[in-house]
Every structure is written in structure tokens, then in C-alpha cells.
Symmetry: C2
Subunit: 288 residues, 2 copies
């Protein structure tokens, strides 16, 4: 297989890191951003070549990766796919159901396959891009029924090239899964952080630090994600409230064994995660 040409559209943390990683392993990388000076800056950083003519660039690309916020992805793919018949499109959006539904015809035609690399940072922007962002992370691929295997293989080749592991989900199963694995954790972290009063702040230590780290992320970006995964999030929020209510009842009843059993469910969930985790799970200090 010859080295593919990939066009990265939108150079924030995700797109910039992908461009950096692909350039490093020798892929031909073309850079596009709605503000051309950002693509030029990406070129200066050695992440690829800033394009000047979008349609021409699309004609050279085997693969286009849309790295803009989730609310913009479907429209961008539709628009760029209409400009040139050649490239296969994928994206890095955290939600897949609405996007894959909006692009269902392109999915069946093998021109769009959803991707979601489970990597990122609460730090945004090209200045925080790093070539190892995707190394060791899991990437979910969400082809629809009848998507041909050849373009799927191309998308998988992209993620393997930057060191990612792969799994396949239907778009709907993906969204349910990320609600539990990523979006609910985000919301719980934000709720925990919001409830820290000023007088309590001096006592917050490593447990609070880790539990609430992701609460520092961009509210606008995440509001977009949560609304795109609205159905799964509404269900997850219901489950979370019901689950907290169970502990509330156990404490009301002064029931130590029910309280311990409730906490044990959390430990079991943590074990489910650690069995799958191929990321570092450090043993760091916490307050008790």
C-alpha cells in the first residue's frame, strides 16, 4: 500500500495532533482551516502543507478528517464531499448517532465513516497539539449498514498509523457507550466542582483534583457534545440521580452494609475499567 494523502480540516488540539502524528510517520498531510493563517502556522510547525485551493486539495486526498466541533461536522462533510468525488471522509467527533444519520447515504456509499478517538485534553487549540496524543488510545469506528470494507480499512489504517487501537460500534451503541464512559464522567466532575464552596476549597486535595480535572474543559465545546448526545445523556442523568438516591436512603437508614454495598458497586465499575485500560493507571495519593 502506498502512503496515503490525508487532508486535515480544522487545526485545534485534535486536528493539530493528528497532523503532527501523521507527518511524523511519513504520511502526506494537507492542512486546512477556516482561518488560513492557522493552517500556515501548522505548516511552520512541520505538521503538513497548508492548502491554498480546497477543491484541488480534495482531489489529491485519499482521506479527509474533519476535526471541528460536533455541531459542524455533518454539514462540513456534506459540503466538501460535493466538491470532489474522490476522498473518503471521517471525523473525530465525540457523538456519532446524529452525524451518521445525517450522512447515512454517504455512509452507505463508503464516502463517510465515523471515528471517535478516545483522546483529548481540557487544553484546547493548536498550541497544545502533540504527536503522541493518540498513542495507545482506543478509537471507535462507526460504519453504517452496507458501508463497504475498503474505505473502512483506509480509516483504520489512519488510526493504526498514529498508534491507536480500534473497535467497531454502531453509531447508536457508540453514543450509549460514550455517555457512560466519557460524557457522564464529565458531567459528574462538573457537578462536583460546582458544589465546592469557597470555605471548603482549602481542604480539597488530590481526590478532588482528579475527580474534577475534566471540569476545567471548555463549557461551549461540551454543551455542544452533551446536546448532540441528548437522549443517551438524559438516560444517564436519570440513572445517576436514582443511584445517588439509593445512597441517600442507605445513609438516612444509617445502614452501613447497604452503604458499603453501594460503594462496592463503584469499586466493581472501576475494576471493569482497569481490566480494559491500556492507558497508564497510576497509583497517586488521595485524601481520605
Amino acid at each position: 500500500m502506498s502512503v496515503p494523502t490525508v487532508l486535515i480540516s480544522s487545526l485545534g488540539l485534535m486536528g493539530g495532533s493528528l497532523a503532527a502524528a501523521l507527518s511524523r510517520v511519513g504520511w502526506r498531510v494537507l492542512l486546512h482551516h477556516r482561518r488560513p493563517e492557522v493552517a500556515i502556522h501548522g505548516e511552520e510547525l512541520g505538521y503538513g502543507k497548508a492548502i491554498t485551493d480546497l477543491t484541488h486539495a480534495l482531489g489529491q486526498a485519499d482521506l479527509v478528517v474533519i476535526c471541528s466541533p460536533v455541531s459542524t461536522i455533518a454539514d462540513t462533510v456534506r459540503q466538501l464531499a460535493s466538491l470532489h468525488p474522490r476522498p473518503v471522509f471521517t471525523d473525530v467527533g465525540s457523538v456519532k448517532g446524529p452525524i451518521c444519520a445525517a450522512l447515512y447515504d454517504l455512509g452507505q456509499a463508503g464516502r463517510y465513516i465515523g471515528s471517535h478517538p478516545m483522546a483529548g485534553s481540557h487544553l484546547q487549540g493548536l498550541q497544545h497539539a502533540r504527536a503522541n496524543l493518540y498513542h495507545g488510545c482506543m478509537t471507535a469506528i462507526t460504519p453504517v449498514e452496507l458501508t463497504p470494507e475498503h474505505p473502512i480499512a483506509l480509516v483504520e489504517q489512519l488510526w493504526r498509523a498514529v498508534g491507536s487501537r480500534l473497535c467497531r460500534f454502531t453509531p447508536e451503541a457508540h453514543d450509549q457507550a460514550v455517555a457512560q464512559a466519557s460524557h457522564l464522567p464529565h458531567v459528574m466532575a462538573a457537578a462536583t466542582a460546582a458544589l465546592l464552596g469557597a470555605s471548603a476549597a482549602p481542604l480539597a486535595a488530590t481526590g478532588f483534583r482528579d475527580t474534577t480535572r475534566v471540569a476545567g474543559s471548555s463549557p461551549d465545546l461540551w454543551a455542544d457534545i452533551l446536546l448532540h448526545n441528548r437522549d443517551a445523556m438524559l438516560q444517564a442523568l436519570q440513572f445517576a440521580q436514582q443511584h445517588l438516591q439509593q445512597l441517600e436512603q442507605a445513609l438516612k437508614n444509617r445502614d452501613i452494609s447497604a452503604s458499603a454495598a453501594w460503594l462496592e458497586q463503584g469499586r466493581a465499575g472501576r475494576c471493569r475499567f482497569e481490566q480494559h485500560a491500556q492507558i497508564d493507571v497510576p497509583s497517586v495519593a488521595e485524601e481520605a
Copy 2:
């Protein structure tokens, strides 16, 4: 001031680490555990001298630190204080209100001052003890009304000796503060972990890892802590459920600005924490 003699009672992670740290800075450390072989093991590790006669040891000690689970602290202090009139007692319990109320007379007499060092680990036991556990952490001291300054100064000297910072709270204000800074974060982490389904586990990444780290802690130890801080926790659980409900409503209404405003409250709370934090707040990757 001459170097004080301190008796550490109960050598788990907290007591073992305190003994290790105090020995390292030259304090005279006596080791006590309900199973004498644990104290002997502590002596072998160089953490102090295992005692053979408890009453005799109490007569030599300026300070006794009770490091057993919160449900046992008040009774242990009461019992040991009755054996010898000399030492001042403190503890490392995560909850202070019930203990300080049960020992109110000893508090007024300057024989007991509550301590709560905001350090620890989800890893328990003497084998995980380390001399730097308390370095840089905040320790809350909870004297009661009329507690004389001299024994307070002795307890503060202890925590400064192991590198801790200090703040004073009333026992009740302490318990409210740790509900927000430590116990609610723990509960939210456990709830988040419990709700991770098996099929979602492969997609959990660094955000999940950090948000749920403390969910790996001992359920029995934490059930004990939560029940001792029952009133403040019931209130915190109410607030958490109401707060989650606000997001649920915003998502139901498809209200992106209300969703972003909700998330912004989390970011503001995270900022309150970071302003106070003198612990490392690393910038690590997360999924988005």
C-alpha cells in the same frame, strides 16, 4: 523546644506514613497496634520503637496520634486517656463533629484536639506507607471552645514537622467542608464508576480514569466515613441531585446556553480549587 515523643496507635497507611515521616525528622516515635506483630514490623521498617507496655508508653509520650478508622477513635481516645494523665491526643479521622462532641470534656481540658490531614491513598495498609505522604498537604485542626493554646501548638508542631500546612475549623464547619471537598467527590466517583456498563468499558479513557480513581478505595472504610458525616452528606447528596436535575432540564429544553452556563459553574468550582491548591495540578490528557 526539645524533640517530642509521639505514640502512633494503629499502623495502617496513615499511621505508618506518619511514623515514617516523624522518625525521619528525628522525633522519638513509639509504635502501637492491636496486633503487636504489626508494630514489630513497623520497627523493622525503621519507623519507630514497638511498645510492649501501653500504660508505660503513654507515660513517656507527649502526644498520641490515633490512626484507626473513624468509628473507633472516640472510644480509643477515651480509654487511653484514662490510663495516663500525661499525653495530648489527636487523630487523623476524616470526620470531626461526632468525635469532638463525644470527647468535648477532653477537648476543653486540652487533652484532645482533632486533626484531619488531607492526604491518603486508595491503597491501604502499612506496606503502602511512605514518609512523604503528608508533605505539602493541608491539615485541618479542630479545637473546641476553651481548648487551651499549649496543646494546640503541640499538635501543630507535629503536622509542621511532616511538612503539612495548617488551618483551623470548628468541628462542624470542618465536616461541612470535607463533605464538599472530599466525601461528595468520592461518592460522585463511585456513582460514575458503578454506571459504566461492560460494553462501554473499552471506550473509557483518561477522563474516566481520573474522575473515578477514588472509587477503587475500600468500601467499608468509606461507608464508615460517610455515616459519620451523615448530616453533611445527606445535604450534599440533595444538592448534587438538584444540580444534575438542572442540567437534565437544560438538555430536555435543548437549551445550549443553559447547558454551557451549567458547565461554566463546574469550571468556576475547579478554579476555586486551583487557586488554593498547593499540590501538583498536572495537565494530563483526557478523552473528549
